[in-house]
Symmetry: C2
Subunit: 188 residues, 2 copies
Amino acid sequence: MDVRSVCLGILTLGEASGYEIKKMIEEGAFSYCVEASYGSIYPALARMTEEGLVECRQESQDGKPDKKIYSITDKGAELFRKELLKKPDQDRSKSDFWFILLFNEFLPDGHTSALIDERLDFLKSEIKETQNDPIGTSISPGARFMAGFRAEILETSIRYIEKNRHLLETDYNTDVVKPSLSKKVASK
Amino acid sequence: MDVRSVCLGILTLGEASGYEIKKMIEEGAFSYCVEASYGSIYPALARMTEEGLVECRQESQDGKPDKKIYSITDKGAELFRKELLKKPDQDRSKSDFWFILLFNEFLPDGHTSALIDERLDFLKSEIKETQNDPIGTSISPGARFMAGFRAEILETSIRYIEKNRHLLETDYNTDVVKPSLSKKVASK
DNA sequence: GGTTGCATGTAAATGGTTACATGATTGT
DNA sequence: ACAATCATGTAACCATTTACATGCAACC
């Protein structure tokens, strides 16, 4: 799925500027499955205008450059439908977080814990976002389905990590410490 | 996390050829968080040999080209440790499957169901792989932690999709069908 | 007899991202 | 004063994939 199809897809939901398309890509439902930067979106829209897949209406603004509002044409919609029928590429995900954890024995003391704390914070903030997000309850059946999925995955992730983080937080660098009689209370 | 670090990481587990590194990247734990093709691995190993980050031992073979077995050097290991301490990049995932589902109303009858069936087959085969996979029970605490995580995510995914697929499989193209008195038993 | 697996490598093409340029407005 | 948001666009750079080249052995 290239930038072009992503733009076309978003434009089937209504007209939008390149800037707005970018915003949609980095928030909500789309952020979970696509990526694109201005550097690819703007040229894509320009080329698709030439090709008659989208149309562009210009709105003057004060100070800011003209806002170019794109809408999808019949030809564009047809092409998009065709794209959707293609066999989907395999999902691909990159995660430095998991890669690093795989080598958790190489990390200095406390690093793993910090990493996991950060991840949990992130996952929790994502859950909150999901809850406010209108996408889950509006746009389309697909979006609702996906929002529900996201929510369950996030919850499962948090639950699992909280439950099992101790497996990574044992201190590998010293022998098992004999519990001293004066068991220190964890500060903070 | 670039190819170089990925290769170094894998080599910390023991010596390996470029070919073997590729295999590891596409299977098991690594497949979940990194990606790389021969076209990036071979040049990376060559350059790192020049730079003294890895060493190469050649083994003659009949028919096949010499097998080049790489091992990590102290310098390489040091660099790898440094890489691991860097703030991890945000996870990034692309999923045609989810993108297409977002536009499920545009799909012809039955297409959504087929898509979902395929996805479920895939997820189930992944679960089976996880179960046979020695990685989950051997390599490292990190790998075990991850394998457990994977398993739960896969199970949650399957459960959710099976439970909620009906939300996407309603027939939008006709009015709600009045249930006929002779309720057909689902064939198969 | 064709595909798959083993095994390495390169060059061209792809498909981006990053950084820059521009600039007003609004918020801290 | 400084950062962020809105808004577009380009060019240089980047990493990687894809396709090719080579070739044997084992499996079906």
